[in-house]
Point group: C2
Chain length 323, copies 2
């Protein structure tokens, strides 16, 4: 049994807990939190304060770190990789290489292995971008996100004066998807790729026109997109927009010879972004444990993990039934 | 530069030749054939008789073997793995484990590495089946093939008395695809998954009714399927059915919690089955060379190859631009 710890118990931590509990080759030792442990209600897992994590140095094979990429993971992943094999879902694309270097040095010095930036993007989508380019080098790939909830964009709307609550969906435009699938290799602007749809609950007496204007002109977040704003009641938001669905597409078209076209497409449609992300991290925790057992240390990503390390099946089963 | 040899120069060998010629990190040393070399016209590559292959023992880093799975590869891959790192596309699913064991023993004894059963199924589809199951264990996956030409089925039709030429397409049924995508986890019979469409050119005076009857009742090949037969002229077959397109779908639906559904879908749409298969084999030749350089010997499959070995990009490029 691979002994797993979870650091951080938000939506992602809950997703990992579910995934580990459903993995027959794993046991879930503890959840660690910065909150008062007695205030954290888990699905049956023991809760400890993060300060006590070193007491578990020899009781946990892999720590799955479920903090945020902005401030938690840049500190927690290197720090915890002094003492544990770790898996995280660091997803600030621009800083991944720096994060990799930080974790690599510390983990290596301590004989631990850290699998960084797992999940679905970065993660499963990255794998597909790499495989697609390797097997179809003369081509172009496109990544579309959605339909799904963007937490960052929802937060940005909530900060506008007069907004009580909000939920923002990123939606890939069907026309752009179809142009990509056709193999025409279009140059697509931001506006052409995705639509942003916002469901907004106003505070009593708020100015709807002002709010809509503030949303649609918000730089970086909305100004470059076609943005649709719907005003709804809190009740309707609770009823119809409380899920955290997401998904998307990676599509590559290219050729092996003049006029000989190929299309490769990978897509995800997820009812729950954190539960699926947690499930991916759990599979990579299995790989992390096994590769560290074989002597691998430092930082790695999904690109370094041979697929077999993710599976619970034997070599013979894999060759007979999966290959 | 990775020095590549090609053993066998049918459609697949030609596809590999193209792919290697388009790979900046590879040089194509020679094509080996059982035919008289002077009768084989390549796209510029030197041709030698297969009997002379051992003269190239120190001149080729990876031999890509492009024979058929029925009789060529079970002999050629073990035999050549005594002297070369090898890549093949052995695709008789029922015999892969035996083939693996044969190649593994001989390659290991000789310090060589053999990557067996590459291509797209087995190959890219297998990878997707493994990844999908690992990240969504509580679910079911389905593989659909087509729309594409089945060489074996086309051959079977050609053997019927009165048939001059034929081309058979395997077509996934849209209704079955949609039931799978919906997440209902249907039990699908052979007949429900794929349609077989046949384009047949009759010999002068042949009995069309007899031929159609023979096709539709042919055990294993057609009897269990809905089969549509079209009679056309040789001219029309040459004009509209000379390509070798193929493709298909791997779809997995499953859940991470009660009522929390996810769908993962991978699809290929290929203008040329042998050119794409050759391109995949070429990417795995790169991995084969690198992994053997690191000391890996024996037989492996796509499941043993960390994705990074397939890419020409540096670690830094991969982490900054692909992850």
């Amino acid at each position: 049994m691979i002994r797993i710890g979870i650091c951080g118990y938000g939506n992602l931590g809950k997703g990992v807990e579910l995934a580990v509990q459903n993995s027959k080759d794993m046991s879930l030792v503890a959840v660690f939190t910065r909150r008062s442990p007695e205030t954290v209600k888990t699905n049956g897992t023991q809760v400890y304060h993060l300060e006590d994590v070193l007491d578990f140095k020899d009781k946990i094979d892999v720590m799955i770190i479920c903090g945020g990429s902005a401030t938690d993971l840049p500190k927690q992943t290197p720090e915890l990789s002094k003492h544990f094999n770790v898996v995280d879902s660091f997803d600030t694309h621009a800083n991944i290489f720096m994060h990799y270097q930080n974790v690599n040095q510390i983990a290596k010095e301590n004989g631990k292995l850290g699998v960084i930036s797992t999940g679905w993007d970065p993660g499963m989508f990255s794998l597909n971008r790499l495989y697609m380019e390797a097997v179809l080098p003369d081509g172009t790939d496109y990544t579309f996100w959605g339909k799904g909830v963007s937490q960052g964009h929802s937060d940005a709307i909530r900060r506008i004066k007069g907004v009580q609550d909000a939920r923002q969906y990123t939606i890939p435009k069907e026309e752009a998807l179809n142009r990509v699938r056709s193999g025409e290799n279009p140059l697509l602007s931001t506006r052409e790729k995705h639509l942003r749809e916002c469901y907004v609950v106003l505070e009593a007496g708020a100015d709807a026109l002002y709010v809509e204007q503030q949303i649609k002109t918000m730089p970086n977040y909305f100004a470059d997109y076609d943005t649709v704003v719907h005003f709804i009641s809190q009740e309707e938001l609770e009823k119809n927009h409380k899920g955290i669905p997401h998904g998307g597409f990676v599509i590559r078209t290219g050729q092996t010879n003049v006029g000989v076209q190929h299309k490769i497409e990978y897509s995800l449609k997820l009812d729950s972004n954190p539960e699926f992300t947690g499930s991916v991290m759990t599979a990579y925790a299995r790989a992390c444990y096994r590769m560290n057992q074989e002597g691998k240390t430092g930082a790695i990503t999904v690109f370094d993990v041979a697929p077999k390390y993710l599976s619970t099946k034997s070599l013979e089963e894999l060759l007979k039934h999966t290959l």
